[in-house]
Symmetry: C2
Subunit: 198 residues, 2 copies
């Protein structure tokens, strides 16, 4: 069944966020079937029952249609780090947060796996994901900079730590996707961190 039918009627009454979600759901249906590169924004617009122009108002780029959830994830991670006791070192806090990631209400393994697979096979998506991660850095730096380590941490050091941690997350995600979601993402993450910190 198509999304076009029911969405064309009640679109205006819905809140913006709901519309976004509905469009994204319709888009994912198409993209998972045809692949990211082979799906055009015109097709997505048609499937979602909105005009091409409006589609670009909701999602600035085609990549954002797939990766829209990542911005929220960045804020969620920052909040989770914020919630950790200040006595924890940066890495203790980050590892603890990673452990809790998969139990968050917004965590849907199937969706994350699908996105992960798509990122592996579509460099443009991977690049865009990296950009999003870059955005997370500035969210996370203030949470990390205040934490204790060997010596005062500071912004420069915090930025290095956060960037390295996100690199570990990327590696862990790739491994997790390659393993088809077997085992937990957190375990791959802690493996990566352990390797890096020796």
């Amino acid at each position: 069944m198509s999304y076009a039918a029911d969405m064309s009627q009640s679109l205006w009454q819905r809140t913006r966020r709901t519309v976004r979600d509905d469009i994204a759901a319709a888009a994912m249906e198409l993209i998972l079937e045809q692949g990211f590169a082979a799906t055009t924004m015109d097709e997505i617009a048609a499937q979602a029952g909105v005009s091409r122009r409006s589609l670009f108002r909701y999602f600035g780029t085609k990549e954002d249609v797939v990766l829209r959830t990542l911005a929220n994830t960045g804020e969620a991670i920052a909040e989770a780090v914020h919630a950790r006791p200040l006595s924890e070192t940066p890495w203790e806090a980050l590892l603890a947060v990673a452990d809790g990631l998969e139990t968050a209400p917004t965590w849907e393994p199937a969706r994350e796996l699908a996105i992960g697979r798509m990122c592996v096979e579509t460099p443009a998506l991977r690049a865009r994901r990296a950009e999003k991660h870059q955005g997370w850095v500035e969210l996370l730096v203030p949470e990390i900079a205040v934490r204790p380590a060997s010596g005062p941490v500071g912004d420069a050091a915090a930025e290095a730590i956060v960037s390295a941690a996100l690199a570990c997350l990327d590696v862990a995600t790739d491994r997790w996707v390659a393993a088809d979601g077997e085992s937990s993402l957190a375990s791959f993450f802690s493996d990566a961190v352990r390797a890096v910190r020796g």
Copy 2:
């Protein structure tokens, strides 16, 4: 004076690499003047004295025109790591290689700074650079995986180490660019690594 005049005559006789370099030089002249986003591939082609179509044969994307040197850098780094004694740990080798980076014959601080600045202000370029770095990972992993650490290293750990190191390099590059090339890139890199490995 323009590149168009002298290049339109002798273009065919030149070797492919030279042509690439000449095109890139002409392009950089334009891009540094107008900015990356405001410069079109048509303008670059005209300035370089080649057709738009041929320009796309030499550089698959607009970003590649600016970042073309990075692929070589990846191989150069891999070779440099290969040349380090096998008794060195991954991080010892990587730090040593970073120290030597700026004395390499291909290292031109002015160009690197210009590229770095452009990457800061143009997300698309930054994303593309990240993609290139991703390509370096597979070059570097075999060089790192054979090195000693606390326990056997292996590919998974090596990938994490290399990715984290490249994240440190990115942070270091940003700082170095922000400092306008004052101090050495290597010192920023070792600062980052020290912060990460605490």
